[in-house]
């Protein structure tokens, strides 16, 4: 699959945006500016960037509790994302969803999701919808290795394969389900092997190599768009942080962490770009500076946005019913 220099630069920008957004989220969470839980995508950026490079605005994605990266790669607006993390009225969900529930229907983002494995089912429904309407859209379902132990994985891949739905099931295998390592939570090494049970292709790639992800995702998406059905694409990667901010990740051996830090997807891509003269060091620094500026603006936007008005709590439950409010 051909990739242009411009596309490589775009993927770098996307990965840098994710890294910078997540690093900022980490900082503001540590300061106590954002409530709740935050699950960071640092270390896994190449997966979202390499896959979403192939997608159009009208393609769909389903995401996970670790969703910021997918949403940014699919074109989500950093301002509205950050405002949502802060629980503000200008956030994507008007402050009602938070980090785990960001969605943007106009970009085909069918939501981050707090239930591990729920996205498999929803993606299957979106795939049914595309297949029924006979458009050339595609739905990408992002999920982790541990979610493939849920029943939803089996139900969805089975149905998607018998109905030949245009879905790419992208497993971000970061080696852990919260604190439980892959070797303890499943008896196989490659999640991609599970594809055999559904009669669909199962491919395993280095998820920290954005070009490998780009190439494999491109084939799978092409297959989906041409009506040949779903693919299970496993991208092996690693999360640098804990499961959530506040989890020190003591279950991850030090040597393992160090070896993965050496394979950092962002630095690898930057080195590749300078080595192959796709971009100079200065050009990369310029991209970085522009991204940092955008992040600063997003935080300013989030901080300035008002908290939601209390009466809004009863809106948006239904299309037409507004529930009663509490009298205090």
């Amino acid at each position: 699959m051909k990739v242009t220099n411009q596309q490589i630069q775009d993927m770098y920008t996307c990965m840098k945006k994710i890294r910078a957004f997540e690093t900022k989220a980490m900082d503001v969470f540590a300061e106590g500016s954002i409530p709740g839980f935050v699950h960071l995508y640092i270390g896994e950026e190449a997966v979202a960037a390499g896959v979403c490079q192939h997608l159009n605005d009208n393609d769909y994605i389903t995401s996970t509790h670790r969703g910021h990266g997918h949403i940014i790669a699919k074109g989500g607006d950093l301002k509205y994302m950050m405002a949502e993390l802060f629980g503000k009225s200008d956030g994507y969900c008007k402050g009602k969803g938070g980090s785990m529930h960001i969605a943007d229907a106009s970009k085909g983002i069918l939501g981050a999701n707090g239930i591990v494995g729920a996205g498999h089912n929803i993606a299957t429904g979106a795939g049914l919808s595309i297949s029924y309407r006979k458009t050339d859209q595609v739905c990408v379902c992002f999920f982790g290795d541990a979610s493939t132990n849920q029943g939803t994985f089996h139900e969805s891949l089975n149905l998607a394969s018998i109905w030949k739905l245009p879905i790419v099931f992208v497993c971000e295998n970061n080696g852990y389900g919260i604190s439980m390592s892959q070797k303890h939570h499943m008896a196989i090494k490659d999640v991609a092997d599970r594809a055999v049970a559904y009669g669909i292709p199962g491919i395993s790639v280095d998820g920290n190599d954005v070009l490998a992800v780009y190439e494999a995702a491109g084939e799978a998406i092409k297959r989906a768009r041409s009506g040949l059905g779903p693919t299970l694409l496993e991208c092996k990667t690693y999360r640098h942080r804990g499961h959530f901010e506040g989890d020190p990740g003591t279950y991850k051996p030090k040597e393992e962490q160090e070896s993965w830090l050496e394979k950092d997807p962002l630095f690898r891509l930057a080195a590749y770009m300078t080595d192959t003269n796709i971009a100079t060091r200065d050009e990369i620094l310029k991209i970085d500076a522009a991204v940092d500026k955008e992040i600063t603006k997003a935080v300013e936007f989030a901080m300035e946005s008002p908290v939601p008005a209390l009466e809004k709590v009863v809106e948006d439950i239904y299309s037409d019913i507004i529930e009663e409010v509490r009298v205090r």
């Binding site: 089912n121 299957t124 919808s129």
Partner: protein
Amino acid sequence: MKKMTYGEAIREGMSIRMRENKNVLLFGEDVGAFGGCFGVSAGMYEEFGEERVRDTPISEGVIIGCAVGAAATGLRPIAELMFIDFLTVGMDQLVNQAAKMRYMFGGHISMPMVVRLPAGAGVSAAAQHSQSLEAWVTHVPGLKVVYPSTPQDALGLMLTAIDDNDPVMFIEHKAMYAMKGEVTELKPIPLGKGDIKRSGEDVTIIATGKMVHEALAASKNLEKEGISCEVLDPRSLYPLDKALIKASLIKTHKAVVITEEVKRGGYGGEISAMISEEYFDLLDAPVVRIGALNTPIPFAINLEQYALPNAQDIIHAVKQLV
């Protein structure tokens, strides 16, 4: 005017909308050429084809999940769960996804989907195929719930459920599928509009689903003894027609609430509590609540009939009230 069975009316409601709107489709276990476990979708596969009347594998989670994903992307799916009891298997998709997506996403996504839920006992189907789980679904903000008791209501409420932009739980009593009734209107029945199935003066019997017919039978008997009962069928459990309940209580000042659910924690309890909280001044006596015994539904015919509430229980309750 036309006579139709309850099952035919549900089918007619679905078919009317499917003829008009290509975005409406039906899927579930054996709903296709087989015509549905209870024959409700018989002939629809032939009329609408395999694309629009789809058999799914036995995978209740992804049946509801498919409805969620399809509704979020522009279709108006009708998902059939063969038995309401199987809701347990698909509960995450219903409760954590369908019901909450609009809210969690700040109102930016619509969820126009119908889940058909064949419910109720009386056919010796035992503990895993006979439950009345109204309370589970009415408890969840984001879901709407209807429960027709006649063919006319089944047809009208099906049209409404399909037209609605929120997830609507369509509870249908499996022992009523063959029940015939007149269908005079092919129009939607608005949600939150109850119906007085029998007008009376002395006591209001609020009944849902098959219990509406038990209430009518009890009323007939009580009339012979000079007691006049009003039978009120809310039809839609959420939103609930509180105004109709109030209007009836202004007349009768007494209420009996009967549902087929296990009494403990049932939606009948919610209606009773609402009356006690909001219309206490209208009451001459405490609200009486009738439900099934607090047991799983048993298999043997005599045990099942004993566990379920019926007209006799209503007669007993009304006599204590007046």
